[in-house]
């Protein structure tokens, strides 16, 4: 996964709550067995509306997505995150995130920043203005800045996730280093649990 340190970009404002992953990546595109190339299908149905924010040329290079609460709800499909990644999104800001989506972002290397509803509303109105809103995000300092608009926001993030995102670390490799603990657990694990070995 790509590492994240500082991101400076215009903000793509998606002023909707409860945006589910069926909208981000409709099911007809989940039949692909590839890991890349999901960008063109992202928000496929909503993009048919010429007024949909993703069709606005101002936001073509946006790396920061600003949304409302419960972003990424519903299906566990990581394809939704791969789609966002493929259209260039590096950071999503929202008042809350669905758990599986949030976790998937952390594995792919997209930073989810949770901010209070009122702050999101203020940023949203600036981002939806004619000129849009440019933000600088610094993961090391955990800050969101725009000097022209006098914006200085501190955000919180789990330290371990921060470490992984900053260094683009493969979590599987990290877990494999705990081989001894896994082996020890397996040896003492109860024998009552089922095995699929007998299934033919």
């Amino acid at each position: 996964m790509k590492s994240i340190n500082t991101i400076q970009s215009i903000v793509l404002p998606l002023n909707r709550a409860d945006v589910d992953t069926d909208q981000i990546m409709p099911k007809q595109y989940l039949k692909r067995i590839e890991r890349s190339g999901y960008g063109p299908f992202t928000f496929d149905e909503w993009r048919k509306d010429p007024k949909f924010v993703l069709n606005n040329p101002l936001f073509q290079k946006a790396e920061i997505l600003l949304a409302q609460r419960n972003f990424g709800s519903g299906s566990s499909r990581e394809h939704a995150v791969w789609g966002l990644e493929d259209i260039g999104v590096r950071v999503v800001i929202a008042p809350s995130f669905a758990d599986i989506f949030n976790s998937n972002c952390g594995k792919v290397g997209i930073l989810c920043i949770q901010l209070e509803q009122e702050i999101v509303n203020e940023l949203m109105s600036l981002a939806e203005s004619d000129t849009g809103l440019e933000l600088s995000i610094n993961l090391e300092k955990q800050t969101i800045l725009n000097e022209n608009n006098n914006i200085k926001i501190n955000f919180t993030i789990d330290n371990f996730l921060k470490h992984r995102l900053q260094n683009g670390l493969d979590e599987i490799g990290m877990t494999m280093q705990k081989e001894d603990s896994i082996k020890a657990f397996e040896e003492t694990r109860s024998k009552i649990y089922p095995s699929t070995k007998s299934i033919i």
């Binding site: 039949k31 149905e45 371990f160 494999m176 649990y193």
Partner: protein, 467 residues
């Protein structure tokens, strides 16, 4: 720290492989369920990184999401589906993972086949690249959906790093009235706490109404826990649970059974343990529920009407309600019972088990589906289909005018040819009424199997208790 634990904490602690300050706990996974849609990229990455599947003996695969439910001896019309199904076959073979292929009588929806085979047991940790993995919590196990990166993590290590969730108790006070199902209870819960009410939490469901439910009813409730945003949902195991598991092909046998029961009987939340939050519903107040919007919290009792979005105070909820009514082509104030339908779908990991089929067929017996309606019933597994046929349920459905199909996810998410056309309105026993979920432009109303059957006969929603 208190030594009194919730059920979920007990299971969590029993599965913690590694604990260290500042990093997520590493949990051992007892069972990994695999299907064709969310696994190909995980297997591909294993190959690229030259990694093995650590515990194929704790993994099982099935094909469910994109299989046709019509005659499977005919060629699959979709080349992309064929490719994805073939990929799973190849991956299962290469990595020694047992697979229920499409002509195996045990094939079916991943969350149906695992309990059916006795693989799902109390006290286990169970994951799958599918959000409805929460279903298995009905057995008092800790079960949650994961993304494809996590699927790869579990394949490679049989563990998963996970931040400790918060605990919520949802208590149903007293009994529910006759005719009220697990589906109505869970829709009432989601209506109360909202689609984001459970974020970051594991929900334990308690109360007499929950205890009185069969395993099928409990599975319906835990299945839809994800629709309230929760990571997982569970119900403490009891005699109903043990009776369901006993004698299934992979259930413990002989001495192991006695040992298992001894352990399973310790699986409950300690009296006076602490939950982070508590929600209570009065069982007597729960009516048959119908969703009217585009998320599962936008719902109403059958006696109610479509709400007026202008009466909603919260701006975000108001905006989503306005959008939902526009998408669903419904007007505020319309009685739920006046909503007319085009299609009926009985199926999905929420409501496709034998009890669901019995309940729907009981309503349909001696009746005909309205002329304006096309109705299909898709059993959750090949074995359920067979059992239903032995009980003669297929004949009741067919005589009423339903199509009797092969097992799979089908119209719940429309990855196979079973989809709604734009503008079609469907009463569905599935779990999501999102925009386009059952087909682009399709309109979905979530209900119980009984309510779906009643609507099939009437052509519009109607209170099943009056039939």
């Amino acid at each position: 720290m208190s030594t009194k634990k919730t059920l979920a904490q007990k299971i969590w602690d029993n599965h913690t492989v590694h604990k260290e300050n500042g990093i997520p706990d590493l949990l051992f996974i007892d069972l990994h369920l695999i299907h064709e849609v969310t696994s190909p990229q995980a297997f591909e990455s294993l190959r690229i990184n030259n990694r093995k599947v650590r515990r194929p003996d704790l993994s099982i695969a099935t094909i469910d999401h994109n299989v046709p439910t019509t005659d499977r001896t005919l060629p699959n019309p979709d080349p992309l589906s064929i490719k994805q199904i073939d990929a799973l076959r190849e991956n299962a073979k290469d990595f020694n993972i047992p697979l229920f292929d499409i002509f195996d009588p045990r094939q079916g929806i991943v969350h149906v086949i695992s309990p059916e085979q006795g693989l799902t047991q109390p006290g286990m940790t169970i994951v799958c690249g599918d959000s409805h993995t929460s279903t298995h919590g009905a057995f008092g196990s800790l079960a949650f959906g994961i993304g494809t990166s996590e699927v790869e993590h579990v394949l490679a290590t049989q563990t998963l790093p996970a931040p400790i969730p918060k605990m919520m108790q949802v208590h149903i006070k007293g009994r529910v009235n006759k005719g009220i199902t697990g589906k109505d209870i869970v829709l009432a819960i989601i209506n109360k706490i909202g689609v984001d009410g459970g974020i970051g939490h594991i929900i334990e469901f308690t109360g007499e109404a929950i205890r009185n439910l069969s395993m099928e009813g409990r599975m319906t409730i835990c299945n839809m826990t994800i629709e309230a945003g929760a990571r997982a949902g569970l119900i403490a195991p009891d005699k109903t649970t043990f009776d369901y598991v006993k004698n299934r092909p992979l259930a413990p046998k002989g001495e192991k059974w006695d040992e298992a029961i001894e352990y399973w009987e310790t699986l409950y939340s300690d009296p006076d343990c602490e939950f982070d939050s508590y929600v209570e519903l009065d069982g007597q107040e729960i009516e048959p529920f119908v969703t009217w919007g585009t998320n599962p919290a936008q719902s109403s009792p059958i006696s109610g009407s479509i709400p007026d979005p202008s009466s909603i105070e919260d701006p975000a909820a108001k905006e989503t309600a306005e959008r939902a009514l526009s998408y669903m082509d419904l007007e505020a104030g319309t009685k739920i019972s006046k909503i007319e339908l085009d299609k009926i779908f009985v199926g999905s990991c929420t409501n496709s088990r034998i009890e669901d089929l019995r309940a729907a067929s009981e309503i349909l017996k001696g009746n005909k589906v309205a002329k304006t309606i096309q109705a299909i019933v898709v059993p959750g597994s090949g074995l359920i289909k067979k059992q239903a046929e032995e009980e003669g349920l297929d004949k009741i459905f067919i005589e009423a005018g339903f199509e009797w199909r092969e097992a799979g996810c089908s119209m719940c998410l429309g990855m196979n040819p079973d989809i709604l056309k734009p503008g079609e309105r469907c009463a569905s026993t599935s779990n999501r009424n999102f925009e386009g979920r059952q087909g682009q432009g399709g309109r979905t109303h979530l209900v119980s199997p009984e309510m779906a059957a009643a609507a099939a006969i009437a052509g519009h929603f109607t209170d099943v208790r009056n039939i």
